[in-house]
Symmetry: C2
Subunit: 226 residues, 2 copies
Amino acid sequence: MQRKVTSSRLRGGNRAMAAPVIEKISEFTVRRLSTYYRILLDLEQKAATTISSARLAELCGVTSAQVRKDLSYFGNFGTRGLGYQVDELKGAIENILGLNKRWTMALFGAGSLGHALFFHQGFREDGFFFTHVFDTDGSKIGHKWEDVEIRPFGEAKAVLKADPVDIGVIATPVQSAQDVANLLVERGVHGILNFAPRQLVVPKEARLRNVNLAVALESLSFFLSR
Amino acid sequence: MQRKVTSSRLRGGNRAMAAPVIEKISEFTVRRLSTYYRILLDLEQKAATTISSARLAELCGVTSAQVRKDLSYFGNFGTRGLGYQVDELKGAIENILGLNKRWTMALFGAGSLGHALFFHQGFREDGFFFTHVFDTDGSKIGHKWEDVEIRPFGEAKAVLKADPVDIGVIATPVQSAQDVANLLVERGVHGILNFAPRQLVVPKEARLRNVNLAVALESLSFFLSR
């Protein structure tokens, strides 16, 4: 029973989890962690208590070696022959992904995409909250989405100085996206999520993620083409 | 020069590319192909003609062994010591992902997310076109988005029989998502893209992709937590 995982180790107390060599961890590894997390959430709802790495891998569409490798960056999980405790592994990945915190976000662009993102229930469930919305369209400014007022883009600098956020979300037209990114960088916002289909330039200290809505379609067309 | 890639091999003429063991290829491999494709598009616009696997890997945030492994499913790409021809590799991945075809889609849900998806420029550039939109909201039915009329959900079965689509996109509230999926399966639509945050049940012959908008945020919170 030497490899049995105890709760305290999983909850972030062990050294291995505190100091992974972060630069070696690719975005794809993190994305797989998100996938494992959703599957574990689903298993928990179905009252499953344990799962083998082989079954977890199957549900996620990867190999069990991949599952073990991804988790090995963060500690020693699971018990040989018994697999993983669903609730413990879920809690551990929640910690790893930073979902045990509250994250604040500023939204740029109050068009249909911005609206869909603002009201997206899944963000709140994960701990992500929009605290500011900016737009350049005079007909939108002053309107409220829940208790957040849509404010002019020109005020963003001052607003974000007085009330900073962790993450900026860019849902503007392509031609404004770089300006928004520049403003976020200037304000020291180091997490940027970009929905505009353009490659943005940001300094190394900023983390930029581009959401390309076409990628999931490309996965479908790949399989439908066969 | 034995390993030099000729255009005809890349364009789909070789046996290796025609018959990969498709079931062995994970969604993550396909997603990486999408990433390589965008980087190659970007390089092409910058007038780059060749790229090493090391540099391509770096731009995509993976190892060069991973790049070579992903491509090896589909053929023999690149020239030892010279790397890949940007235009040829881009063309090859375009074929692999099925982006050289025109794909038709039916949209379910004409809310703000549906609106954002319908008008998303990136889909059209990739060859994905919405030909039908359905909703249950009487105030939306009869309105037109470009030349597509929003029609009642109750008509979807008949409409899709008369004018089938390749892909169904679910942008409805959670509680309607499974009904839409059932209808799509019944109509023989084998590609389903689901934006509703719910695990849907579909038979094996259907390809279901869930788009979880929170996944990109989780990648940011992971890195911002360090």
